[in-house]
Symmetry: C2
């Protein structure tokens, strides 16, 4: 036990030293892949009922519109093609896929320090989406999003500790040709970040060229297949219960080319799925299980993320709402289904319906990020920067989202209870003949980094300090940080030889730097 004298002498110097020292992973309060799971919106019986209902839907309703190649793969795996053109899945077929499929997945970064291990309740937050507008926070305007915006988003995300992967969050609307857009999207992402990236191939016939670009960036096909740093997002269904024919064909190509896939079923609860949370999850789970049969019929054990993405709807207007409590419940409950199947999974969190990074944005983004995190979601997509029910992306909000997610991560890390943390001896020492407070105790000082998350932008000053410091506000602070990041060279930039080669082969719309 620390004596009173050393407590007293500790104080300020010790604190200064601790702040200065670089922290190793196990000294940090939060880190990618921490385990959640203390929040369980579904009971074990709820989960079982959802599972049984999904199996029933697959067996009795099935999915329409599979491409010919998909029908062939899945019928070979045991699915039954009905006269009505729907593929139905006997229970055993689903169970067989659940047996064969990848239970843990590594999502590789181009830099290995950003590799993510998906399993159990391990939680990761990242960007995603297909926003068509950028939020200009000063003019309060929405304008078309561009390739440069995308590159900038990736460059910013690369610097944010709590953004663990960078799926393309917005669409480069300044590129008209779809193939050029796909290729430039990958260029813009990879030259902005060495974290794991994701995008979505627009048309099946583009897959070979996309793969060629990825192989070039990796150095070779073998190098990419060994550490595939990009996953393809496959919106493989058009809910309810129909395959998206072209997207399925693209998925087949991606799988054969060695890309991990995100099996994304994006429904809207109340429009393209039942309005009940349970019903929307049943349908999403059923669709993703069909997708799992599909993937494992092509390449058994191929890495596929179980992407149940039910979205919310405002039934008064029929408009999408992604910031609601219903949305947070939809996503968090999906995490439990992923865990029930023992599959790496993901769903959207952290979105807001607000047009600006304001108080609404804060509460909506925290709500679903926190619930997904506490529920132990492997991949929380769309976790930062997404506004206006996914229509807008905001760089400043992305930066502030890093603070917000840091706090959610502290929460999901939870509470350590043991002899030391229970601290009865410390209480005794402080109260009986001690200083009567805990401020300078060795126990307090030794835990000040490991137990606490200190935000970067969130203000903790007193009103007086705040007033004297010019009443700083969040958004201008985030804007300054954005400019600092964007004015610096990208640490992820391609080496000049590779860059020259890429620019010679492709019509790259980003200026050389």
């Amino acid at each position: 036990m620390t004596r009173t004298s050393s407590r007293r002498s500790g104080g300020r110097n010790a604190r200064r030293e601790m702040r200065a020292a670089a922290l190793t992973e196990d000294q940090r309060a939060i880190f990618p892949g921490m385990s959640g799971g203390t929040y369980k919106p579904l009971s074990p019986s709820d989960i079982e009922q959802i599972h049984e209902a999904a199996l029933k839907a697959l067996e009795e309703i099935g999915l329409a519109d599979a491409p010919e190649s998909g029908v062939e793969y899945m019928v070979k795996a045991g699915a039954i093609l009905g006269d009505d053109g729907r593929l139905r899945y006997p229970r055993a077929v689903v169970e067989d896929a659940l047996e064969k499929c990848a239970k843990t997945i590594t999502l590789y970064g181009r830099d290995p320090k950003h590799d993510l291990q998906l399993s159990g309740n391990r939680v990761h937050f990242g960007t995603a989406g297909a926003a068509v507008s950028m939020v200009d926070v000063e003019g309060k305007n929405y304008r078309d999003s561009t390739l440069q915006d995308l590159h900038d988003a990736c460059k910013i995300a690369d610097q944010l500790e709590n953004i663990h992967f960078v799926q393309r969050p917005l669409v480069a609307r300044d590129i008209v040709d779809n193939l050029e857009m796909d290729l430039n999207t990958i260029y813009a992402c990879c030259s902005g970040t060495t974290k794991h990236i994701g995008t979505s191939v627009s048309e099946p016939q583009f897959v070979p060229e996309i793969l060629e670009l990825l192989y070039k960036i990796a150095g070779s096909e073998e190098a990419f297949r060994a550490r595939p740093f990009m996953a393809n997002t496959n919106c493989f269904v058009v809910p309810p219960m129909k395959f998206a024919t072209e997207s399925c064909e693209a998925m087949e190509g991606c799988i054969l080319g060695g890309m991990p896939v995100l099996l994304l079923s994006a429904c809207m609860s109340g429009a393209t799925a039942p309005s009940t949370i349970a019903g929307a999850i049943v349908q999403s789970v059923a669709e993703c299980l069909a997708g799992l049969v599909y993937v494992n019929a092509i390449v058994p054990g191929h890495p596929a993320i179980f992407g149940t993405w039910p979205f919310g709807l405002d039934l008064r207007t029929g408009a999408m709402t992604s910031g609601s409590g219903e949305q947070a419940l939809l996503s968090a409950a999906c995490a439990q289904m992923h865990q029930f199947y023992g599959l790496p999974g993901g769903a959207p969190g952290g979105m807001t319906d607000s047009k600006l990074p304001d108080m609404q944005a804060g509460w909506e983004q925290m709500c679903s990020n926190l619930m997904c995190g506490l529920a132990g979601m492997n991949m929380v997509y769309e976790a930062a920067g997404m506004h206006a029910s996914l229509l807008g992306f905001c760089h400043e909000s992305l930066i502030l989202g890093d603070d917000l997610i840091g706090q959610a991560m502290r929460c999901l890390r939870g509470i350590e209870v043991d002899e030391t943390t229970l601290a009865v001896d410390q209480i005794r020492d402080v109260c009986i003949g001690g200083p009567g407070h805990y401020l300078g105790t060795g126990e307090t000082l030794s835990r000040m980094q490991k137990d606490f998350v200190y935000p970067t932008f969130a203000s903790r000053t007193s009103p007086k300090e705040w007033d004297e410091a010019g009443k700083d506000e969040l958004v201008p602070k985030a804007k300054a940080r954005k400019e600092e990041i964007l004015n610096a060279p990208s640490p992820a930039a391609f080496d000049p030889i590779l860059d020259a080669e890429l620019r010679e082969t492709y019509n790259i719309h980003l200026p050389s730097v």
Copy 2:
């Protein structure tokens, strides 16, 4: 099952009718006293260890500084006064109090429709605190808070559906005399709201006059004792492990006068409690258990709310922080301890360190409100309007907090899983020979009120609609609502005869209306 034809004809008219119809309690998506409890940051073994550590602290360390009267009460109940002046509590003494104490509490409103039933995991949100400043959102200034601010806060809170009780959130700094301040505080609260109120008696010798005022408002002592509409907040300890002598004396008077009490142990984790979450909870629980022995030694079964209120600290600066993830964990875990003891309990949630109702305020307020709600906290105090680590109160933020809490309540309500909500038949109907979407189904329409929370201020419009509507922002909308409420007469105003009598007896600082 609804046929396709009726689905089609339903549509817009049905939606309009449903919106227009007034909702009974069981048709509403959220209501006071919904049960949380699906989030459990502590395991059963964690809880047991915290309980044992608290018992050990009570037995071996005990509490100093009890008033003479308190020593007498507690020694009679079995506590042991040591030579060091500390009262220690053998295990059996604590167990005896846990046996005797009130397990369910009704907190009465002056209007019975606002009565709150505290038990199990039933959750209520309300205001509390002792802010010394008001936030002027337009000038971004902090100024001294006044009695009128307090009255206005109560009048606003009275109109907000998701503010279930109104504990005094701010201090009337324009009243110099402490007794006058206490009396005027009660006048300002009661004439602003008929919801259950709470305040804190400044000095023990004021208790008789406070009780007299309450009895007058109730109509008689018997009427107050039958439905005590105010609870007294007793900061009965000065952590670590010391009784607050004067506050204890005031508490004794309140109990004998028939007022429910909030046994409030407000420590700061890292300063007046261990820096570990587990340790701060151990100490808070120990202190509140001592308080429980105390209360039940005076009047067995007297209504007392178990108020473990550990606050967070920024160890870099020694400043309080109430918006952190650590804070949310501290409070949420307390809810589990209350449930372990089977006691009505409360803790703070919804506070922010931000000076303004901005994005930080949104994420911090949601974080702890949500975690307290999901954990099933009976009383979430300070749930709206509190800024700058409890130093400032903001009327506009209070109004926006109502939306925020509504969303948190939707989340804690959780997910209903049954044959109907699983919706396999509906999925079949829609997919096979049906319309291919769920927008107009009878099932969707029938649930659009019961299953969904529609916010009042949070914006769900598209960027285009938002732009065309003048880019409305949250804070001005809240300000307009504030003015609307404050310009209307208070529905809680005293009847003129009582008001005249009160004004004759006391120096009431609020103008007559």
